[in-house]
Amino acid sequence: MSFTGQSATGPEESTARPAAASQRGLRRAVVVGGNRIPFARTGGAYTKSSNQDMLTTALDGLIARFGLQDERIGEVAAGAVLKHSRDFNLTREAVLGSALSAETPAYDLQQACATGLETVLGLSNKIRLGQIDSAIAGGVDSASDAPIAVSEGLREVLLDLNRAKTLPQRLRVLSRLRPKDLAPDAPNTGEPRTGLSMGEHQALTTAQWKITREAQDELAYNSHRNLAAAYDAGFFDDLLTPYRGLSRDSNLRADTTLEKLATLKPVFGKNLGAEATMTAGNSTPLTDGASTVLLASEEWADAHELPKLAAVIDGEAAAVDFVHGKDGLLMAPAFAVPRLLARNGLTLDDIDFFEIHEAFAGTVLSTLAAWEDEEFGRTRLGLEGALGSIDRSKLNVNGSSLAAGHPFAATGGRIVATLAKMLCEKGQVDGRPARGLISICAAGGQGVVAILEAL
């Protein structure tokens, strides 16, 4: 793989490189708090809700929690993966519909499932550079209210029709129309270059890393159990605002058991020859929802008498060549994390909370397996051996996407706010600030990862 040699950072190289950005005299960007609406399974409570309405609601809940009415925020960035063309200015429109000052600028960003985390990293960097003092990052997605496009054939005909000047010209254009052109073009999660769905791609990776059905079901079970326990403890009381009658994520099954999960039939990887292991229980369903995160400089947070939960330390993006089968579609974080750790002089042992987005249970387990693999560490990461293994009790301790659901662009905001609160509650570990790692895989073979630290 061409980029591993250039970008993966070996131990020698890391000592030669400058210290992490946080140590280079930049000011800190802190997470003040977050707000999201409960996530709803597609076709459920939010079937009639638009992205703009959900994002505006999530913003208004954040404004209410932190008293930001009429406040001019430095910048708001959010995005959606499934986006109507009319929503070209989605985030700015949500800001205008919210209780924020109308003088708050905003922009849309899109990096598939990494959208939410990338808005946090981009805005944090602006804060650290002193370009802005406050920011709101976020994301929203609705698979219920997804855009449906007209077919390419019909689109060309309509555009040509608009350009035609005379009646004969118009008739000639119309005569090109065929019945199949009238079929609408619905969005799907298939990769344009392989035609495979995300689930089928992951099934290849799951099989490659020999991840068992039992291990995947156990991860899904823990996700539901942990998320339900966090709700019961009131952990989400200041992270979430109800919406359309939901006050918890509708995908959460507090009473699920390993036995129940074991009864589900596989849905992906049924034609691979190997045993199919991926079910609806250990894969995330399509989900609707929105999330927001309030970021600020320490000075701004203090001046506004607002809490400072955690600092955004550093982030890293990676991509893999899944098209030619070199790596699995969702394996980019396996490369991004070692690079990020090395740049910050850290190892997996220095992390107190791992937030690894559960696109599929197999994704998390394949990534962990890769890090534990000697050969992968040597040949792909340029290390002397395996990157290492993690203490599973530190993984997704308040649940993750398998239980909460995964409205693509909203997942990053959910994880950042959740982790920041956990870090704040944890405080210090062995005389240093508690540290958390976020890892999010994304379509197109991409991944974005980040480190947060308690203050």
Partner: protein, 446 residues
């Protein structure tokens, strides 16, 4: 805002029909709007005592047109009947009959306010009889007034004069549109405490106020009214009501705190939030409450314990935290929402009435505990109020319930909020341990 029947009989053909058929003719009440005159006409101060002589000039500073003698056939905005020198029942006759001559001249939405001394501190049986007599007189007069006019009384405890801060504050409240749905009530000024506001339109300027159960109904109205009067708001409700709560918080430009008040640490979390976000805590309004109605014979443990838990136990626990906190010591104010059910009882509401009776008991017993810090605690007991909750009562029952008071209509959530805002103000510091009813003088249960 006013119910449809009241609108119908207030003008045109509806007015004629109602009069000919002898149907109730509720008036459209005079409600407070910032900037409006305090009363709809001149104020007659009736009484010859020193207290009356001292009170009249104090009223001039409110830009009122004050009369010491009635001008025949002049429409009056209010009659203030000062009865603070009664040695026996015979002393009632002269001032009362003098005022009687002016009752017909009261304007629409006018006010009668008596100022007298509490019977409890009377020097002997004759004086006590006269003072208690004011109570019966006032309540009866309230039932005789028409066209949205109300009558209320202020009773002065030992050491309180007609110009004490809270006497003037109570008088201003009763004269204004803020007391639109308060009728036939006597409020005791218990001490000389209290401080009149720099700006009477912003009596809560700079105060940080917490309102529980603020997501909707009366709680949301309280938040809006306190905000209008200048307070900075922390609105509290259960996490499941968070969407409505966020809307209220954004409307009143405050902060939302999603919190179940029955949690063990609710008091600490409320104090922490107010102090961390707003630097202080001055006012706590215990409004959150639930009903789980059932005849006592059919009552179950769940209905009983949940109502007692939310409506009174949570308030007691939160008050304990407030009383122990160093952040709640600068003339703090607590106002609890009780209910006329807790006074007169209500079929099917043994649990609710027990909890609301409990609130009144708590308020009385907590007042001395706050006195050291110039604090006060009071309760407001609403009668029939037009809310989403009462809108669900079947039509006939609701129609009877809302007409059974001297004003022949239900109150608005804002009417309850006005009474709470008044008791939460610095000026009301001399009123503590009291219960003020906002019920339009409910005919049942005194």
């Amino acid at each position: 805002m006013t119910d449809k029947y009241t609108q119908f009989v207030s003008r045109g053909i509806g007015k004629d029909v109602a009069r000919k058929l002898g149907l109730p003719q509720p008036a459209v009440l005079r409600r407070y709007q910032p900037g409006q005159p305090l009363v709809p006409g001149p104020v007659l101060v009736q009484g010859t005592s020193t207290g009356a002589d001292e009170l009249a000039p104090a009223l001039l500073s409110w830009d009122l047109d004050v009369r010491r003698h009635a001008v025949p056939r002049e429409k009056l905005g209010a009659i203030i009947l000062v009865l603070d020198e009664l040695d026996g029942p015979e002393d009632l006759e002269r001032p009362v009959l003098a005022a009687a001559a002016s009752v017909r001249d009261l304007a629409t939405g006018a006010r009668v306010v008596t100022v007298s001394l509490t019977p409890a501190s009377a020097p002997g049986p004759a004086a006590a009889a006269a003072r208690q007599g004011v109570d019966g007189l006032l309540r009866s007069l309230a039932k005789e007034l028409r066209a949205g006019a109300t009558a209320n009384g202020i009773m002065l405890a030992d050491g309180v004069t007609t110009t004490s801060p809270s006497t003037l504050a109570a008088l201003r409240f009763f004269l204004s549109g803020r007391s639109a749905f308060v009728d036939g009530q006597l409020l005791t000024v218990t001490s000389d405490e209290g401080k009149l506001p720099a700006d009477p339109e912003k009596p809560l300027a700079g105060k940080v106020a917490v309102v529980t159960g603020a997501a909707r109904g009366i709680g949301a109205a309280i938040a809006r009214t306190l905000h209008r009067d200048g307070a900075i708001l922390v609105v509290v409700d259960v996490p499941a009501a968070g969407d409505h709560l966020a809307a209220v918080a954004n409307e009143v430009k405050g902060t939302a705190l999603q919190l179940d008040i029955t949690r063990e640490d609710a008091g600490r979390r409320i104090i922490d939030h107010a102090v961390a976000r707003h630097g202080r805590l001055d006012i706590v309004v215990h409004n959150a409450g639930i009903t789980r109605d059932k005849l006592l014979a059919n009552m179950d443990q769940g209905r009983w314990s949940s109502v007692i838990g939310v409506n009174i136990e949570a308030q007691l626990r939160i008050n304990e935290a407030l009383l122990a906190s160093e952040h709640f010591r600068k003339s703090p104010r607590i106002v609890s929402v009780a209910s006329t059910s807790g006074i007169a009882g209500n079929r099917g509401q043994t649990n609710y009435a027990a909890s609301k009776g409990g609130v009144m008991g708590m308020v009385r017993a907590t007042a001395p505990l706050l006195a050291d810090h110039h604090g006060s605690i009071n309760a407001v007991a609403p009668g029939f109020i037009e809310t989403e909750m009462t809108a669900r009562i079947p039509f006939a029952t609701r129609e009877i319930a809302r007409r059974l008071n001297s004003l022949q209509q239900g109150g608005q959530p804002g009417d309850v909020a006005e009474a709470i805002a008044f008791l939460a103000s610095d000026a009301a510091g001399g009123i503590s341990g009291e219960v003020l009813r906002v019920c339009g003088q409910n005919l049942v249960g005194a």
